[in-house]
């Protein structure tokens, strides 16, 4: 494999020279290397995650007691708006498709970089400036946006939400949206055109498949949001009446456009993390993934169905075709169920090692399954009518989204941390972090299901003692503080790993896929030498030739060969 420095007119072959590569801040500003951009995305999104998590602590403190005046009602509205917006637009998505995908995907397909490195760098700068623009809202006289992360019309009109804060929110989401679109173009092109010889589509790691499908979903969903935001801005400042009844417009049009983005967005956030889970479970079970093609087609089915269910968020508007959206929403449970069964099937009969990445993944399966089942309930219009806009919905989507982005996300973080940094983390602290999050998270959100069923509406800053919501809210807030403490443990783990490093080998987990054939961290264009690719697990084949998958497919069962491999150890 040869990589050439870009030189139009007189291309030459030969290894690129990077001796004069800048250092420090200049490297951060100028790099087009997917690994540096991926790390930039990851660290930036984690900073946004910590800020958004701190906002959640303020929200839970306000709700700790009835008639509380810890923050004003206006500030409370700003807090939950920016908490949701940061978590969804600035953390969950960019952490996965900006951070992990950027770093891991080229390595997993044996590519030297992303297909469009300059566009990749531009995506990051648009993301960073977009994120900062959103936070700038807190410094304006009117305060930050306060209309929820969904920005429903007419609440988001210039009359109901005046000032620069909401405009900064609109601009911020536009910038982050373009960043996402550019990243998606890069992911799809890289997957289609830069795979190593022999790495056919049906040999790609499941993570790569999931990122490909996520990229396609982004290309479907994000342009709709950008168009909707431009129209919202026009309504606010240019005198149009697209979303206002006064001028002949339709407020519910915003909901249609927003959720045509918003529901695929949920899967844009979830699919990359499903991909991580599908990488971690086989490695820590010492088995190939069970039902590879089933997982691939389930991913495609989830992507398709998720784009056809946008109006299930709008059942109570009375303007949508209930049976159509209900039926499609219920159908999503089928491919999602297939995934959960294949993950369990992969563990079944394997030699499961309960290292911290695996613990996080098992935590994900537990939490996500609960969130998924309450999603099936909410897909039924009669139940949705009763629970719409209550804490039942808040608990549901936190179980789904926290389950994927935090449990699976930190599973992926710890799994690839040695590859990213060339260092190991402290396993004990990672396990402590897991248990604190698992306990804290469930103590926070399980009471919220009960609060929702008792009728507590979401997005209220205060409740009365007579409402009898106090005890459950207190339990929920204590759970949130435990969860918050878990991230202090994580930061301590990272600090210790930074100050007292334990070097990591190239393949500390006995991983299966190509990134584990590269150094930790990989060199500039990733690979000195690739192993032959004859199955879905080329690095396993290289390290365990007696139990190689391609031999198994010719000579017998994989299970038999795994036993052979274990005996030979």
């Amino acid at each position: 494999m040869t990589i050439i420095d870009e030189e139009i007119g007189a291309p030459h072959s030969g290894q690129a020279h990077h001796d004069e590569e800048p250092k420090g801040v200049l490297l951060w500003l100028t790099s087009t290397d997917h690994k540096i951009i991926g790390k930039n995305y990851m660290y930036t999104s984690l900073v946004f995650f910590i800020i958004a998590g701190a906002l959640a602590m303020l929200i839970r403190t306000q709700l700790f007691a009835p008639n509380n005046h810890f923050v004003s009602q206006q500030t409370y509205n700003e807090l939950f708006t920016i908490h949701g917006s940061m978590m969804l637009y600035l953390f969950a998505g960019p952490f996965a498709f900006g951070g992990f995908a950027n770093y891991i995907l080229p390595l997993q397909i044996g590519a030297p970089d992303m297909a469009f490195p300059r566009l990749n760098a531009l995506s990051y700068w648009l993301y960073l400036t977009g994120g900062i623009s959103m936070l700038l809202g807190f410094l304006t006289a009117s305060g930050a946006a306060a209309f929820g992360w969904v920005s429903y019309a007419p609440l988001s009109s210039a009359t109901n939400s005046p000032g620069a804060g909401p405009d900064l929110w609109i601009v911020s989401i536009m910038l982050v949206g373009f960043s996402g679109i550019f990243t998606a173009v890069n992911l799809v092109t890289t997957t289609f055109y830069l795979r190593a010889p022999g790495l056919t589509m049906f040999r790609m790691p499941i993570f790569v498949w999931n990122m490909l499908v996520t990229g396609l979903l982004i290309l479907i969903a994000f342009p709709v949001l950008t168009a909707a935001l431009i129209m919202l801005y026009a309504d606010r400042h240019l005198g149009t009446h697209i979303y206002s009844v006064a001028g002949g417009g339709m407020p519910v049009l915003w909901q249609n456009l927003f959720w045509f983005f918003g529901h695929p967005e949920v899967y844009i956030l979830a699919l990359p993390f499903f991909g991580m889970v599908s990488e971690i479970i086989p490695v820590f079970s010492k088995k190939p993934v069970f039902g590879y093609k089933g997982l691939v087609f389930a991913t495609l089915a989830i992507a398709g169905l998720s784009t056809g269910v946008w109006a299930h968020h709008m059942f109570t508007t009375g303007t949508v075709l209930l049976p159509f959206f209900s039926a499609l929403s219920l159908l999503i449970a089928v491919p999602t169920g297939i995934k959960i069964f294949t993950w369990i099937g992969t563990m079944w009969g394997g030699q499961v090692e309960f290292k911290s990445p695996m613990l996080f993944v098992i935590g994900f399966i537990v939490v996500f399954t609960m969130g998924g089942i309450t999603g099936v309930l909410l897909a039924s219009p009669p139940i949705d009518f009763a629970t719409h806009d209550t804490y039942f919905v808040v608990a549901h989507f936190h179980q789904v989204l926290f389950g994927t982005t935090v449990f699976a996300g930190f599973g992926g973080f710890f799994y690839w941390y040695p590859k990213l940094t060339g260092r190991m983390f402290r396993e004990g602290l990672a396990k402590l972090q897991f248990w604190l999050i698992f306990i804290g998270f469930n103590v926070t959100f399980l009471p919220q299901y009960l609060l929702g069923l008792q009728g507590m509406p979401r997005r209220i800053a205060e409740y009365l003692p007579a409402d009898h919501f106090t005890t459950l809210n207190r339990i929920s807030s204590v759970g949130a503080y435990i969860t918050g403490f878990a991230f202090i443990v994580w930061m301590a783990n990272m600090w210790i790993s930074w100050r007292k490093p334990i070097p990591a080998s190239a393949n500390p987990w006995d991983g299966h896929t190509l990134e584990w054939a590269a150094d930790s961290p990989p060199s500039h264009h990733n690979f000195e030498k690739l192993p032959p690719i004859r199955s879905q697990r080329p690095v396993w084949d290289m390290n365990h030739p007696e139990a190689a998958d391609h031999k198994a497919s010719h000579n017998g069962t994989r299970a038999g060969n795994i036993e052979k491999s274990e005996k030979s150890r």
């Binding site: 990589i3 490297l27 030297p112 300059r118 456009l257």
Partner: protein
């Protein structure tokens, strides 16, 4: 290339079918248009790939038995370090923020964008560096 075509066509055909069912059942225009656009996003590149599938031999990455040696030669042209994506990003952000803080900011932002257009072109001719 056949699998790549398959992914796009599968998406396109699925959305087209959903669009037809939804439109006939609900008669609602907005959602139908969005589903039609989503179908187009699958079918257009799918047809482009179909055109190529018939005209080019299988690539090494499409053949299960391909050897690594078959992938030798130039993989692609990758730029080294460059400041211009950063400048373009700042220019785009300032131009977008002019929607909030006034048109004067767009003058600054657009100057960044234009200078990036010029300098990236020159950089490519030079061979790519800061």
């Amino acid at each position: 290339m056949k699998s790549e075509r398959g992914v796009y066509m599968l998406i396109g055909i699925f959305f087209f079918a959903i669009m037809v069912i939804y439109f006939l059942w609900s008669g609602e225009a907005g959602g139908s248009v969005m589903l039609f656009a989503a179908a187009g996003l699958g079918i257009m590149p799918g047809l482009y790939f179909s055109w190529w599938v018939r005209r080019m031999p299988l690539r090494p990455e499409d053949r299960p038995e391909a050897t690594l040696a078959e992938g030798s030669g130039a993989v692609g042209a990758f730029p080294s370090n460059t400041i211009w994506p950063f400048v373009l990003g700042m220019g785009s952000a300032l131009t977008a923020l002019s929607l909030v803080f006034g048109a004067w900011l767009a003058v600054v932002g657009l100057s960044f964008i234009i200078s990036t257009a010029l300098n990236v072109t020159l950089e490519s001719r030079r061979g790519g560096s800061i």
